[in-house]
């Protein structure tokens, strides 16, 4: 360190000190000479840009990321273990909370697996399947909107964030009307649905589709051709097809590498083979391609939603098998949602057997024949696989979720290493991980 921080000079006015940068020149010179400039930076787990409690451990050399690793587990809630202590029906209440932005996909995946174990896939009423598709596509919209909104915000594009959350709110209003809740619905149950659509739901969804058709082009106008947006997104988070296959990445990441793999087309469920829609792809393998794919998928979702609405015919929304279907006839009472008065009158007043049946089915639950099943749905993030094992009891023996966020997040290192620190944010945003799903 130099002892003198300012040089003195005598003038006719007295002593004049020239204050300079002190020893900074020295510091800079030393820094330039040293070749070991690597530092390890912890980003998260409490960081606004890491999509929840994700911890990124970055080794950086100047502005370049030389190594990137993820630390996860901060949101582990033991849902898979908890499921083993509840009935099969209660399971939906838990799985809906895994990836909380794709609730209906979690519920559908679980129910499809349980229905496969029960061997009742063919007995699910059409109306229930159509409403499942309808809700899943609405959910795809709301999930992609959050992805684009938060992704934009992390770039500093707050207008996109406002637009995204504005439109998501419309979807959440529909959820609230149909299921009573904005999140964590537990609406799709093994065998069908908890209850039918309420009056006015179809009209509100039609209104929403109309509004979204008007709103979606705004994202195009705002972002798609925007040079700043493109400069931040293009070529960032690069992962080609070989990388995707090796790392098991699915969903928009895989499709941005040009492979039109979509379980809705490849292994259709809930009658997806009868709907008319396209699977968008890109060949850029980067964040920008994934953004375009998500935007296009939202348009395709609107198409599917319209087809669902056109197909809805009155009918049951639960299997006819009364050993699986809850006897509940839900109705809105003065103190919230509950069993209808007619049903209460029957079980409390006229039929003791009905009461026993109701009590047994709700407290004990139904038994599922032993064996295992795997059901996969195309969630907004990729292949959501559900592995369910039964030992013939009234509770799941084991439920395992192959959450796409968990698998896709592994690709973070491959996407970020060698890039700049600022691009880590863009790459992670394009993976669209939701920690509730990653950690479960």
């Amino acid at each position: 360190m130099s002892t003198q921080s300012a040089s003195a000079r005598e003038t006719t006015e007295g002593t004049v000190y020239t204050v300079t940068g002190g020893d900074w020149d020295e510091v800079v010179q030393t820094a330039a000479r040293a070749d070991d400039e690597r530092i390890v930076v912890n980003m998260g787990p409490q960081h606004p840009s890491t999509h929840g409690v994700l911890r990124l451990i970055l080794e950086i050399d100047g502005e370049t990321v030389t190594e990137a690793r993820c630390g996860i587990g901060y949101l582990h809630t033991g849902i898979e273990k908890n499921l083993e202590f509840r009935t099969w029906t209660q399971g939906t209440t838990f799985v809906t909370r895994m990836d909380y932005l794709t609730s209906f996909f979690n519920e559908t995946g679980y129910c499809l697996a349980v229905e496969k174990l029960l061997g009742i896939e063919d007995q699910i009423p059409d109306r229930a399947s159509i409403i499942r598709v309808l809700l899943m596509e609405l959910n795809r919209l709301s999930s992609h909107l959050v992805c684009i909104a938060t992704g934009g915000m992390e770039l500093g594009a707050t207008t996109i964030m406002i637009y995204g959350f504005r439109d998501r709110e419309l979807v959440l209003d529909i959820y609230e009307l149909i299921t009573g809740l904005r999140m964590n619905h537990a609406y799709i149950r093994p065998g069908g649905l908890a209850q039918d659509l309420p009056p006015g739901a179809v009209d509100q969804i039609r209104e929403f589709v109309k509004k979204m058709r008007k709103n979606l082009p705004e994202y195009d106008k705002l972002a798609t051709g925007n040079p700043v947006f493109k400069a931040r997104m293009q070529g960032i988070g690069y992962l080609d097809l070989a990388g995707c296959m090796a790392l098991g990445a699915t969903g928009p990441i895989l499709r941005s590498a040009g492979l039109p793999h979509d379980l809705r087309k490849a292994q259709p469920y809930c009658g997806y083979e009868t709907y008319d829609f396209d699977v968008p792809t890109a060949d850029t393998c980067d964040s920008y391609g994934r953004f375009l794919i998500r935007l296009e998928e939202m348009r395709q979702s609107l198409r599917i939603i319209e087809q669902c609405l056109d197909r809805l015919e009155p009918g049951p929304v639960m299997v006819a098998d009364k050993k699986i279907a809850w006897p509940a006839q839900l109705a809105l009472g003065p103190d919230g949602l509950g069993n209808s008065l007619d049903h209460i009158k029957q079980i409390m007043g006229t039929s003791m057997e009905s009461l026993i049946h109701h009590f047994k089915l709700v407290t004990e639950g139904f038994r599922v024949p032993p064996g295992q099943a795997y059901a996969a749905v195309e969630s907004p993030k990729g292949e959501l696989g559900v592995h369910v094992v039964s030992d013939g009891g009234t509770r799941p023996y084991r439920v395992h979720y192959r959450d796409p966020s968990f698998t896709n997040l592994q690709a973070m290192a491959a996407m970020c290493e060698g890039g700049q620190v600022a691009d880590v944010i863009v790459a992670v945003a394009s993976i669209d991980p939701v920690m509730g799903g990653v950690d479960r």
């Binding site: 996860i72 587990g73 582990h76 898979e80 273990k81 908890n82 083993e84 202590f85 509840r86 496969k116 174990l117 029960l118 061997g119 296959m245 090796a246 098991g248 699915t250 492979l259 793999h261 490849a266 292994q267 006819a320 009364k322 050993k323 029957q346 006229t350 039929s351 057997e353 009905s354 026993i356 049946h357 004990e364 639950g365 139904f366 599922v368 024949p369 032993p370 064996g371 295992q372 099943a373 795997y374 996969a376 292949e383 696989g385 592995h387 094992v389 030992d391 013939g392 009891g393 009234t394 509770r395 023996y397 084991r398 395992h400 192959r402 968990f406 698998t407 997040l409 592994q410 950690d439």
Partner: protein
Amino acid sequence: MSDANGNGVNPEKDLGTDNLPGQRGEGGEEIRVQRGMFGASNGGDTSGYGGLVRSVRLPGPATRPYGGWFDEVADELEGALEEQGLVPENVIEKTVVDRDEITFHIEREHLVRVAQTLRDDPALRFELCTGVSGVHYPGDKGRELHAVYHLRSITHNRLIRLEVSAPDGDPHIPSLVSVYPTNDWHERETYDFFGIVFDGHPALTRIMMPDDWQGFPQRKDYPLGGIPVEYKGAQIPAPDQRRSYS
């Protein structure tokens, strides 16, 4: 529904033994014997169900033909294994076909070779592994820990399941990370929750639980935990202390 009582139960149709769910007759593989009901094991059970004995059986091995494309995959796999100088019967312990899904039970020492074959053989080409799911069967002596893999072929649009078992005393299964790098985190997760040691994994550490955690939480002998909750004057026991009907 033709139920006269309006309770959804039709005595003639519903109460036959064929119609009892959760039963698999004498076939299949026994994995456990369940005694009693309601989870009451130490006195106090006046239900009369305390003496119930039920054997829990999972679907057993299937015989040829398996049906559909299952035979094609099985033939190709056996052929490819023979080409590598392996005896398929020594590699594939059994093949189970249940609920339109095919499961190959693989001897653990051959797992990597089988996975490599399934991935690389053009006629098989299972290029996508959807990770591993652990299952703990404490009653299945000598094969307590199972690792279940689902492999997807995008080329041929197929899905198969591989199942590998290891005894509790020697919980080692070879790692598939060299064949399917995506299994990196999945194997760490299964190690974390079940204590299955995947030999050859580049860094087998805990992923969800804290690094210094004791025990493997998703094993069946690991308690769920929880505290009793008071609700409208009544004590509701913790979830794992509640009456079980299984």
